[in-house]
């Protein structure tokens, strides 16, 4: 009985094998746009031609900046059609595909093509997006709300106190309003930036949610709380409650600043974050006082001179705090004299320093000459100078907002260190020989092969395969060309993401003999 059963099972297995034996794996025959080609405009659709019908399993498009874009793939006859985003920007794209053959066996690969011009990931990353100017403007608006609005409320409630003209309240409320609107818009813009989308997608809820969830989202929410507190402070009937709320708003702004941004991530965090909070609070205290004071002076409030004097006394320690915390941050960010002119971050810092120095100079004149004069009732000159000060402050905020787009020198140094590692070789040793792989330029690899005897390995063919399973990238396969004796070269590579890539070299020695080398290639 058992024997019969075994025979039946064997027969069934044999039959199954016979039935499937004639099936083959699908093979990619062609692609349009072709592998490595450069199209003038977005092709709209990518066609992968196989030798048999396939079923898409996972298709991912990696944009030039390394972000994954959503695509849909449909199978038609022997082709796989992938709809590409119509608004695809210039640069090199990588399409990772995994399909099932008719026999159910999955096969995969990565096809690269370029729009406009070829780019490597490293070169493409700093490319400014179309919404960058809006992001910048929104950030200026947020700073106006925090510095001018919250700082202004603090000045009116805590430093000035007492009676004040309604126009001062309205002006500060206006600044708070600017900050609130800019904060709200920032969520959407931040989301667009994260997804690499254009303004047209601003209607999508996912975009706003992404902005809310981003690191900057927490900062914006906290900042919005500060704005609300400041607005409330202006409305509170009792001066003590108002002063307390305005102080709390100022502290909240300081806290908000530490939640995101380049400076908050500088190490050590125990130094960077308090320095940043102090810097923000001091800036709000100083910057926020300018406009309300200007209003007090120009509306010829009797107490304006006295208040200016009080502020003047307060500003000396404030400026000292500002300078000290600023220097600490600059040090932590790796700023050197050379990087002040050599990097975009440094140039912005230099510009900011010049503007702040001008403000300090004006402050000194105010303190020595104009404030005492205003105290005696002549506030005209002080008013004019304060006007200049407000303009300078606006310029400072504009410069500071520009930092969002520039990595600080410490990051650049880290990137340089990474590219140095990048320059070191990958050695793969096997029983039959050794392969050395090294980056050459942005998009190329040089390969040296030696046999077990230590001599140059004479190969007929060298094939390279690079995959990043962790990022869901199927293997890119390239044929290497013999550049000089012993050195093989592969060009036009695109690494949509960094990290450790699985590298495999298939080296054909003779018709029937090949050897392979496998290793991890670290892409910064």
């Amino acid at each position: 009985m058992l024997r019969l059963l075994a025979r039946i099972v064997l027969a069934a297995i044999g039959g199954a094998m016979l039935a499937t034996a004639a099936f083959a794996h699908a093979t990619l025959l062609d692609s349009d746009p072709a592998e490595g080609s450069v199209a003038a405009r977005p092709p709209g659709e990518l066609r992968l031609a196989f030798n048999e019908p396939v079923t898409p399993l996972a298709v991912k498009l990696f944009a030039p900046d390394g972000r994954e874009a959503e695509v849909t793939a449909t199978a038609r006859d022997n082709d796989l059609l992938v709809t590409l985003p119509a608004d695809a920007g210039a640069g090199t794209y990588a399409l990772s595909w995994r399909v099932a053959s008719a026999d159910g066996h999955p096969i995969g690969g990565t096809t690269t093509f370029s729009i406009g011009h070829a780019s490597s990931r490293a070169a493409a990353a700093p490319e400014a997006s179309a919404i960058a100017p809006l992001l910048w403007l929104a950030r200026i608006g947020v700073y106006i709300g925090w510095i001018g609005g919250v700082g202004g409320a603090f000045f009116l409630m805590v430093i000035a106190g007492g009676r004040r003209p309604a126009v001062a309240d309205r002006a500060v409320l206006g600044l708070i309003g600017v900050g609130a609107i800019a904060s709200a818009l920032s969520f959407g813009l931040q989301g667009l930036d994260a997804f690499g989308k254009g303004l047209g997608d601003l209607g999508s809820a996912a975009i706003w949610l992404a902005g809310l969830k981003s690191g900057y989202g927490a900062t914006l929410v906290t900042g919005a709380v500060a704005l609300a507190l400041a607005a409330g402070a202006l409305r509170f009937p009792t001066s003590r409650l108002a002063a307390g709320t305005a102080s709390l708003a100022l502290l909240t702004v300081a806290a908000a600043l530490t939640l995101s941004g380049h400076a908050s991530t500088a190490s050590p965090a125990w130094a960077a974050r308090p320095a940043l909070a102090l810097h923000g609070a001091a800036a709000a205290l100083w910057g926020g006082s300018l406009l309300p004071l200007l209003i007090l002076v120009s509306t010829r409030q009797p107490q304006a001179g006295r208040i200016a004097q009080r502020l003047s006394g307060l500003l000396l320690p404030t400026v000292a705090l500002l300078a000290l915390s600023g220097l600490t941050l600059a040090f932590l960010q790796g700023v050197t004299i050379a990087s002040l002119t050599g990097t975009a971050y440094g140039r912005l810092l230099g510009g900011k320093l010049l503007l702040v120095l001008a403000m300090l100079g004006i402050g000194a004149i105010n303190r020595r000459i104009l404030v005492p004069k205003a105290a005696t009732g002549d506030g005209v000159a002080l008013g004019r100078v304060l006007m200049v000060d407000v303009c300078l402050l606006l310029a400072v905020l504009a410069v500071v907002a520009g930092w969002r787009f520039t990595p600080p020198p410490r990051s650049l140094a880290a990137a340089a260190a990474a590219s140095h590692r990048h320059a070191t070789m990958l050695h793969i040793q096997t029983a039959r020989g050794m392969a050395m792989v090294q980056f050459s330029g942005q998009a190329g690899l040089d390969i040296w092969l030696t046999g077990a005897d230590g001599r140059v390995l004479t190969a007929r063919e060298v094939r390279l395969s690079l995959a990043n399973p962790a990022a869901g990238l199927e293997p890119m396969r390239r044929q290497a060309t013999l550049a000089t004796l012993g050195r093989w070269h592969v060009d036009g590579l695109t690494f949509p993401v960094g990290g450790a890539w699985d590298l495999r070299l298939d080296v054909l020695i003779s018709d029937f003999d090949s050897l392979s080398f496998e290793g991890k290639l670290v892409v910064p």
């Binding site: 058992l2 024997r3 075994a6 099972v9 064997l10 297995i13 044999g14 199954a16 094998m17 499937t20 034996a21 004639a22 099936f23 083959a24 794996h25 093979t27 990619l28 025959l29 030798n51 053959s101 026999d103 066996h105 096997t430 054909l508 018709d511 029937f512 003999d513 090949s514 392979s516």
Partner: protein, 174 residues
């Protein structure tokens, strides 16, 4: 009897586990050292859709007395040469013989075919080892498929894209 049945079931399970259906493979996946082996090379497809024009097999060292089976429509070529070692075949010492076989013809991608040769697996092969027959498939348009990957230690043919067809040597039945 029970032993044989278990072995047969084991072999069947091995066959089932192997996903090598789309590869060039040998029909009989195992053989006994010192026995005659009829190698049936199964070619399931061409090179990326192109028709196969030539099938070349490298004869591994230790597989001697090789004779290919003629095939209608295909021209046979035999490359002979010296072996690395010397072997005993029916009381004679053999030091040279077939090193490579090739069939030249035309097999469209849509068709399946088999290429047959036979020889003796000498005692040079230990039970448990695998003998590989690297195959090069040459197709129209200068396309080539090479089934020549020999698994490294600790790996199996399944770990490779184009493994060489192999036959596992088992101990002779007592």
């Amino acid at each position: 009897m029970t032993k044989t049945r278990l072995a047969a079931l084991g072999a069947a399970a091995l066959m089932l586990a192997s996903p090598a259906l789309a590869h060039v493979t040998l029909e009989a996946p195992q053989a006994t050292a010192g026995s005659t082996y009829k190698a049936v090379l199964r070619v399931p497809h061409g090179c990326a859709g192109a028709a196969t024009l030539k099938v070349r097999v490298q004869i591994p060292e230790g597989f001697i007395g090789v004779k290919p089976m003629p095939k209608a429509g295909w021209t046979l070529d035999i490359v002979k040469g010296k072996y690395d070692g010397s072997y005993q075949l029916h009381g004679n010492t053999v030091t040279e013989g077939v090193k490579e076989l090739s069939w030249t013809g035309n097999l469209p991608d849509d068709y399946y075919d088999e290429f047959v040769f036979r020889g003796t697996l000498t005692d040079a092969f230990a039970a448990g080892s695998t003998v590989y027959f690297p195959v090069v498939q040459q197709c129209e348009g200068d396309k080539t498929e090479r089934w020549i990957e020999i698994p490294a230690d600790g790996k199996t043919a399944d770990d490779y894209e184009s493994p060489a067809p192999g036959v596992r040597i088992v101990a002779p039945a007592k």
